[in-house]
């Protein structure tokens, strides 16, 4: 048995040795040990270095509130986790752990020079020190801060584990399975109520695990836990251990993270590492207990200085003495019991030092029985020892003055500054807190959620009080759900009730300016820092917190908040409630990204929408690009072609002969009903009344502010039926906007809107041979006369029911064939095969972009940005000015929208033939001083198309009246000059859109 393990104590099973390593050295422990308890059983207190000063640190607590003992854990590739608290990580065979913030080694750390230079690192030192000179930022300050900052090291490999998510709907959730929670769950679990009780520890029991002396209704505490656990399970209560309630969200939604494998020596197949539960509970009982506060004095962070209650836990739960010659330093009765337990287990307690001038006779007698020297009305002013505490310096206090010092030799200091109710989840509910002057702490007052708070977390003390309060609250939540609940009450023998006082930093005879009396261990914040912040003008605790970083570490100030508040309010000379309490926010304890991500990782991170033709594109070597959620073929390189070469070829082939394009991602909305045409008149800028059945029109959609929102070709398939297309990314937005106006502004219109985006596969054929290719597959006569540009018809294509549109987004003869989605690939392959005689090319989105830009067709969202009107875009022709109203009509008449000097869409051709960068800013005068007046920007730019020079589209102030003028585009290395042109670079007369008269173009039946 290891040196500090106490025979017959604790719940750790030592029958089988478990080996693990810390800092490369092997240690042993038993089943039920944490890394901290196992290391302490070997006398190892030094577990890490602190964040800022690199001071040696050991475990100060025994649970999840631990700020110091942060370790990295590893089990094979990818399974490294930094900042794990040694006090909650179970050991298992083969576990590898390491200390953090050490260089070059834990015992000798050069970063500890920061400790000697502590005057530099006072509160707000980042703000003060690194302001000057400016040139020092890049070379000195930033590299230094980056090297010094951060807790632990980020994992570098992908996490091979998987994480699960579940929803759970229940009647009652009990958070915390100490005496309060167990009693509450028992009382509530009646008449069929579904009850879940959760606890972050490996087993239920809470404080009872550390207080085995208590006897509940005649049954010893540990036996009682067994009995109650069996009883709860028998009543159908779901008991979840290793499960942390991380956050309390609106309407009684509580997030739970269940750890499933971090304690297992070998990972079971198909078990997630963690599971996130989203619990929606009818009622919640918060029974999170209370957390012990440290005392604030010079050297209170030396390894070996720890919370008295935690020392008691290490002894009673893990069978480990944290020291053989401890000294107890306290402001609360509870630490006396810790001293008694340690003494009874064989430790030679050097003294009990209490800051109070009187305690109960029973405590004095208890100390006397165990021959423990008692010093009342004493303060502690320093500790000694490098990597482990060797002595505590204490001074008698008399009438407000600090008397002569004496040193007490020791190997551990067990301190208690009293207890703080754990109000974290209560605080998440936006619950109100009330300051309790007697107990010098905040207590819960009221919450807007269906939630009660019970036991020590509302300031009650003692096991009997906790049990009975839990039972009462359990019945209360049952009653709130319309049930009676179980009537239970408890009597506890050997209950350790008590009281204490709350302190700011302890009085000292040493220079307070040189004291390192830590308030926040994890962020290395001292009492001196807090007082400095107040001297420098911080008045609210929120400001003090941010200036000093007190309570901002990963432990969220579980130990430091109230001590920090007491010191700040003392420095300000105001009561604590006037200084305020900082807000607790989820998560309660550090939570892995994996738990939040759940299943949403890799290819499951977001939906990838694919068309029916996507697989063909993949088989034919397409390179893809994401367009909103869609994956679209970008270009189809052939035999090692570059992207530019591929796009040039696709463009040229389409202009010369024939291109085929998958346009299925276009948004499609079916607008039907007796009032469909009136609805279209009101939504779109264009007039629709006179559009004949079988015709289509380019439609522009504005917002009521007059700016372009979307566009697309709209076909009239019947008097009461429109086939509306939208941009790929705009489909959902447009439908939502249409529904909004239809439902809330014009509920009188009889119109139905249906999203049909995924009902149709849409194949675009473009090029001089498009009609020739398509004609053999349809009865429709594809002549200029019979089926002119901007026609549409419901027909059959290659034997498939189709909606055929004669439209062009390239300037060539164009068709869009819509067939029922599943038939898309069949039609594509049919057309592809038939197209071989014309040297057909499949083209992707890049070629589509180039060809449309050459014709000056805009892309909403690229050439417009939410501040562009139809007039700005040069599309005043699409505005039905005679209509009494449409969405955007009034907006277009706003003074700013009719003012001179608006940015307008124009073409740009560079004088040196270079390609402009999209997004580049434009100026009128390149010789003006910097900062220049920017008058617009390049929206689209290409040099891979069919024009003999690079082309660009741009928004330029007053551009429409500046044709032929030269503008300048300043770039980092030079200034490019460009001439303003129209937006149409290819076939301005639209001659190529027409199908030449030819005998071949006859429908089969025509």
């Amino acid at each position: 048995m290891s040196q500090y393990r106490v025979s017959g104590k604790g719940r750790v099973d030592l029958s089988k040795k478990i080996n693990f390593t810390f800092e490369g050295k092997s240690y042993t422990g038993g089943q039920g040990d944490t890394v901290a308890s196992a290391l302490l059983s070997h006398g190892v207190h030094l577990m890490g270095r602190s964040f800022k000063y690199h001071r040696p640190r050991g475990a100060v607590a025994a649970g999840s509130e631990e700020p110091n003992a942060l370790i990295g854990t590893r089990r094979g590739p990818g399974r490294f986790e930094p900042n794990t608290r040694a006090t909650v990580q179970d050991i298992y065979e083969g576990l590898q752990t390491n200390a953090q913030n050490k260089y070059p080694s834990l015992k000798f750390d050069v970063g500890a020079v920061n400790d000697a230079a502590y005057m530099l690192f006072s509160a707000g030192f980042y703000y003060k020190t690194f302001m000057w000179p400016r040139s020092f930022w890049d070379k000195v300050y930033e590299p230094f801060i980056r090297a010094a900052a951060g807790l632990g090291v980020s994992p570098t490999e992908e996490d091979p584990d998987h994480y699960a998510s579940r929803n759970l709907h229940i009647d009652v959730l009990v958070v915390g399975a100490g005496p309060t929670g167990i009693a509450a769950a028992k009382a509530a679990s009646a008449e069929g109520l579904s009850v879940v009780i959760v606890d972050e520890n490996r087993e239920i029991g809470g404080t009872l695990l550390s207080e085995p002396q208590a006897v509940i209704d005649g049954i010893p505490a540990w036996a009682w836990i067994e009995q109650e656990l069996a009883a709860l399970k028998a009543q159908g209560v779901k008991v979840m251990t290793r499960t942390t309630a991380i956050g309390y969200y609106n309407d009684n939604l509580v997030g739970l993270v269940q750890k499933l494998t971090d304690h297992l020596p070998s990972l079971p197949a198909d078990t997630p590492r963690e599971r996130m539960w989203r619990v929606r509970a009818g009622q919640v009982v918060l029974a999170q207990g209370a957390l012990e506060k440290p005392l604030v004095f010079h050297g209170n962070d030396r390894p070996g200085v720890m919370l008295a209650g935690s020392a008691q836990t290490f002894l009673n739960r893990y069978g480990v003495l944290v020291g053989k010659r401890p000294v107890v330093l306290t402001a609360h009765d509870s630490a006396w019991y810790a001293a008694f337990d340690l003494a009874d287990a064989g430790a030679k307690v050097q003294a009990i030092v209490d800051v109070r001038d009187g305690v109960s006779e029973a405590l004095i007698a208890g100390a006397r029985d165990r021959n423990i020297p008692v010093r009342l009305s004493y303060t502690a002013t320093a500790t000694k020892g490098r990597l482990r505490v060797k002595s505590l310096r204490v001074n008698r206090m008399q009438g407000g003055t600090v008397g002569a010092a004496e040193e007490i030799s020791c190997d551990a200091v067990l301190m208690s500054g009293g207890w703080t109710p754990s109000l974290h989840l209560f605080s998440h509910t936006k619950g109100k807190l009330a300051w309790d002057d007697d107990r010098t702490t905040f207590l819960p007052e009221m919450t807007p959620e269906d939630c009660v708070i019970a036991g020590a977390s509302r300031g009650l003390w003692g096991i009997e009080a906790a049990l009975n309060d839990g039972a009462e609250k359990g019945r209360a939540v049952a009653a709130a759900l319309g049930k009676a609940g179980n009537a239970v009450s408890y009597t506890v023998a050997e209950d350790r009730t008590g009281s204490g006082v709350s302190m700011k930093e302890l009085p000292t005879d040493l220079s307070p300016g040189k004291a390192k009396a830590f308030v926040d261990y994890q962020n290395d914040v001292t009492a001196k820092d807090l007082r400095l912040a107040v001297r420098e003008g911080m008045r609210s605790i929120e400001h003090v917190k941010r200036y000093t970083t007190n309570g901002m570490a990963t432990d969220q100030g579980k130990m430091s908040n109230i001590n920090g508040l007491n010191i700040a309010s003392d420095a300000l000379g105001r009561k604590q409630p006037q200084v305020g309490l900082t807000t607790f926010r989820p998560p309660y304890t550090p939570t892995s990204f994996g738990a939040f991500a759940g299943y949403h990782r890799g290819s499951h991170f977001e939906v990838t929408r694919k068309t029916q033709i996507d697989a063909w594109a993949e088989e034919n070597g397409a390179v893809f690009e994401p367009v909103s959620q869609w994956r679209r073929a970008w270009y189809f390189p052939k035999g090692g072609e570059s992207m530019d070469d591929a796009v040039r070829r696709e463009c040229a082939t389409t202009r010369k002969s024939l291109g085929i394009f998958d346009a299925s991602t276009l948004g499609k909305i079916e607008v039907v009903g007796p009032d469909a045409v009136e609805f279209m008149n009101r939504m779109y800028t264009n007039p629709w009344t006179k559009l004949g059945v079988g015709k289509c029109r380019y439609g522009l959609l504005c917002g009521d502010d007059g700016f372009i929102r979307d566009d697309g070709v709209i076909g009239r398939l019947g008097q009461d039926k429109f086939h509306v297309t939208t941009t790929t990314g705009g489909a959902a937005r447009v439908l939502n906007m249409m529904e909004d106006y239809l439902q809330t502004e014009w509920p009188d219109l009889n119109v139905w809107l249906t999203s049909t985006t995924e009902e149709w596969s849409t194949i675009a054929l473009n090029g001089p041979n498009a009609a020739k290719l398509l004609q053999p597959f349809t009865d429709v006569t594809l002549t200029e006369e019979n089926f002119p540009h901007m026609s549409c018809v419901e027909c059959e294509v290659a034997g498939m029911p189709a909606r055929l549109f004669r439209v062009s987004f390239t300037g060539e003869i164009g068709f869009e064939v819509n067939v029922p989605a599943p038939m898309g690939r069949q039609l594509w392959e049919t057309l592809w095969e038939a197209g071989q005689q014309y040297g057909i090319t499949a083209y992707g989105t890049e070629t589509m972009h180039v060809l449309r830009a050459e014709k000056g067709y805009i892309i909403v969202g690229q050439d417009t940005d939410g501040t562009v009107t139809p007039y700005d875009a040069g599309m005043g022709w699409a505005v039905g000015k005679a209509k009494p109203d449409f969405v955007g009509k009034r907006g277009l008449a706003r003074p700013d929208l009719v003012a001179e000097g608006r940015k307008q869409l124009v073409g740009l051709v560079t004088e040196d033939g270079s390609k402009l960068e999209e997004g580049a800013q434009i100026v009128f005068d390149a010789s003006q001083p910097i900062p220049m007046k920017m008058v617009g920007h390049v929206t689209s730019s290409y040099d891979v198309g069919t024009t003999d020079q690079p082309i660009a589209l741009a928004l330029v102030e007053g551009g429409h009246s500046r044709m032929g003028e030269t503008v300048f585009i300043p770039m980092p290395d030079r200034t490019i000059s460009a001439k303003i042109t129209g937006t149409i670079f290819v076939d301005p007369d639209n001659a190529k859109l027409k199908i030449p008269a030819s005998a071949e173009n006859k429908g089969v039946a025509a």
Partner: protein, 104 residues
């Protein structure tokens, strides 16, 4: 995550099914061409942004698809009620003095 009562489905469902749609009871002028620039700007841009009781619109986007109105306290994030689009503003005195229906 809020629970929201859809007045059309008559069910209380998680916020994930809904989309927020701005302040309620801002009617588009019946004849926009006749309103002044100031009135139009007021309609387009000005919102009350209250701290407290707020009338607002939601859409049951992943459910029935209907837009409806709600009264929510922006401080407590609690719904006082939800009601169909087109219905008049509910009486605030009655709402504040009766327990919440909307969120439950």
């Amino acid at each position: 995550m809020l629970l929201i009562h859809c007045p059309y489905c008559n069910e209380t469902l998680p916020e994930l099914e809904y989309a927020y749609a701005g302040e309620a009871h801002i009617a588009r002028p019946a004849n926009p061409s006749e309103v002044s620039d100031e009135e139009w700007a007021e309609f387009l841009f000005m919102r009350s942004n209250v701290k407290g009781i707020h009338y607002e619109r939601w859409r049951h986007l992943h459910g029935c698809g209907r837009f409806f109105n709600a009264v929510r306290d922006t401080v407590s994030d609690k719904f006082l009620t939800t009601y169909e689009a087109g219905a008049p503003r509910p009486d605030l005195d009655t709402l504040v003095n009766t327990p919440a229906e909307g969120g439950k």
